[in-house]
């Protein structure tokens, strides 16, 4: 298999952009899993729901920017609602991991089918036309690199937030020991809500980008969740940079396979990578370190 320069540029570019969008989903998932121990199977739903809300609002004649803002606010509210109405009922229970995995799976079923009822099938967010450039022979919609840049920006912001602000530290503290956090004055319920909200917003933003570049469908959420779980696990749970690294790796593997081997092999390649990494390193690429 010979890869030409043009192809290489294409593969890397596409891979990095897709990877950064995935990173937003994965970081949201990782944040929620890290702080609440919830393996949120509904994570990707925050992307599809946000996307469809925007599709719906734009369809009603509301401008793109206000729709996006409304969509993101909706994501936050949805995140908090999921935490309050569902997850909070499981705190302190045996088999928390399993129960919340299933409960969030239930949320996925609900969200998927509500979207199907409301929107039918496949929809796209009409992105702003910011032109395109020709790179290595193919024309590239400028929206693509812009989406990648937005994703990266959000991630850096989140990193600073969790490392250097008391609120961010408190999230990590609650994750480690809820009682301990309570005793030093952390309102853990608020942290839980906030974490879910922020996790949902990050993923919601990925939904906006995804909906502009690709196509939203009621099942996009599940697909993103599958990617995100893979990433979080390959990167090592709780490892911020591991997650980013894994996102880009998965993005590149995906792009390479789609271009050079065929789209049918995408999932196969990605799960094979996951498989190999975990067999070699059961704790993920950067397991153990933060």
């Amino acid at each position: 298999m010979v890869v030409s320069i043009e192809q290489l540029v294409f593969i890397v570019g596409n891979g990095l952009i897709f990877g950064s969008i995935l990173a937003l989903v994965a970081v949201g998932l990782s944040l929620i899993f890290g702080v609440l121990d919830v393996p949120n199977f509904a994570q990707g739903e925050f992307a599809s729901v946000t996307g469809f809300v925007i599709v719906g609002l734009v369809g009603l004649g509301i401008g793109l920017v206000p729709s996006i803002i409304a969509g993101i606010v909706f994501a936050f509210v949805a995140g908090v609602a999921v935490e309050r109405l569902v997850i909070s009922k499981f705190y302190g229970r045996d088999e928390f991991l399993l129960l919340t995995f299933f409960a969030t799976f239930g949320i996925t079923i609900i969200s998927e089918n509500v979207l199907r009822q409301m929107f039918g099938g496949f929809r796209q967010i009409p992105g702003p036309d910011i032109g395109s450039i020709v790179v290595a022979g193919t024309s590239v919609n400028l929206l693509r690199p812009a989406a990648g840049a937005i994703a990266v920006g959000m991630l850096i912001g989140l990193y600073i937030f969790t490392r250097y602000t008391y609120m961010g530290l408190a999230m990590r503290a609650v994750a480690d020991d809820r009682r301990g956090a309570e005793m030093i004055g952390v309102n853990y319920e608020r942290i839980y809500m906030l974490t879910f909200g922020i996790g949902a917003v990050l993923t919601g933003i990925s939904g906006v980008l995804y909906g502009m570049l690709f196509t939203l469908s009621p099942t996009s959420g599940v697909a993103l969740t599958a990617f995100a779980f893979t990433i979080v696990v390959v990167g090592g749970v709780g490892s911020f940079f591991g997650t980013i690294l894994a996102s880009l790796l998965i993005g590149l593997v995906d792009s390479f396979t789609a271009t050079m081997v065929g789209s049918r092999w995408r999932f196969f390649a990605i799960f094979a990578v996951l498989f190999i990494v975990l067999v070699l390193r059961p704790e993920g690429l950067r397991g153990g370190s933060t």
Binding site: Y166, L169, R172, A173, D176, R179, A181, E182, I184, N187
Partner: protein
């Protein structure tokens, strides 16, 4: 406040007819308790008497099934733990409740969360002074500390913020012999700054020597309450809890 003997008549913390337990099992039965402002109160009692449970109720980590808790006269029975800290009440718990995945330093920094880091540097220094070991290990994950080191960190973390009442549940547990008198000295020092202290200890004798008053908990009820010195002389107490001394 009187600098000589700062115990005043005012109750810093007060519990009335508290009942509490876990699920079906009742641990505390109609227990009443008061801590006078400025005093060191030592609680002793056999294993499983309910000392830790009492600390949890006072801190708000578990709710009582009955009774009420007052802090400086204010009703706080339904106040969640994190808000109690804001009112000056702190606990070093038996389980320590450290942030295992965070470094020693980050644990201490989190100790000042409620004040968002006010006087952080100064306080860090104070903790490192008391436990030089923690300074050596400030970048180590708290989860990998040895038993004694973890205990030091738990105590240190509670000293990172301004409080009025400090409750310590077996703070000497797992500490090397050399550190115990140092710890007790420190407790005395903290108390000298006007902070009221509840001290739960298995080292009953040392604890009572340090304390102003004592309290004997048995089977979920307080069976004896009095001046510490008095209790040290009490034959009954000696026989039961001070190992025949």
């Amino acid at each position: 406040m009187d600098s000589e003997k700062h115990t005043s008549e005012r109750n810093a913390l007060e519990a009335n007819e508290i009942s509490a337990g876990y699920g079906e099992a009742q641990v505390l039965r109609d227990l009443s308790f008061e801590l006078q402002e400025g005093e060191i109160l030592s609680i002793v009692g056999p294993n499983g008497a309910g000392k830790t449970t009492l600390m949890r109720v006072l801190m708000g980590l578990i709710g009582p099934t009955n009774g009420s808790v007052r802090l400086y006269g204010d009703q706080i029975t339904d106040l969640p733990a994190h808000e109690r800290l804001g009112h000056g009440l702190a606990l070093v718990s038996e389980e320590r409740n450290l942030f295992r995945e965070m470094s020693v330093k980050e644990n201490l920094v989190m100790g000042s969360y409620s004040e968002r880091g006010k006087n952080r540097g100064e306080r860090l220094e104070r903790v490192f002074d008391l436990f030089p070991r923690l300074e050596e290990r400030q970048d180590q994950h708290a989860g990998t500390l040895s038993g004694g080191e973890a205990q030091m960190l738990a105590i240190g973390r509670s000293l990172m913020t301004d409080i009025r009442i400090l409750m310590l549940d077996e703070p000497s547990l797992g500490l090397a012999p050399k550190l115990v008198p140092e710890l007790f000295d420190k407790i005395r020092e903290i108390n000298d700054d006007g902070i009221s202290i509840v001290l739960v200890e298995q080292r009953a004798q040392e604890a009572l020597q340090l304390a102003d008053s004592g309290c004997l908990l048995e089977n979920g009820a307080i069976v004896h309450r009095g001046a510490a010195a008095e209790m040290l002389d009490d034959e009954d107490v000696i026989e039961k809890y001070l190992g025949g001394a």
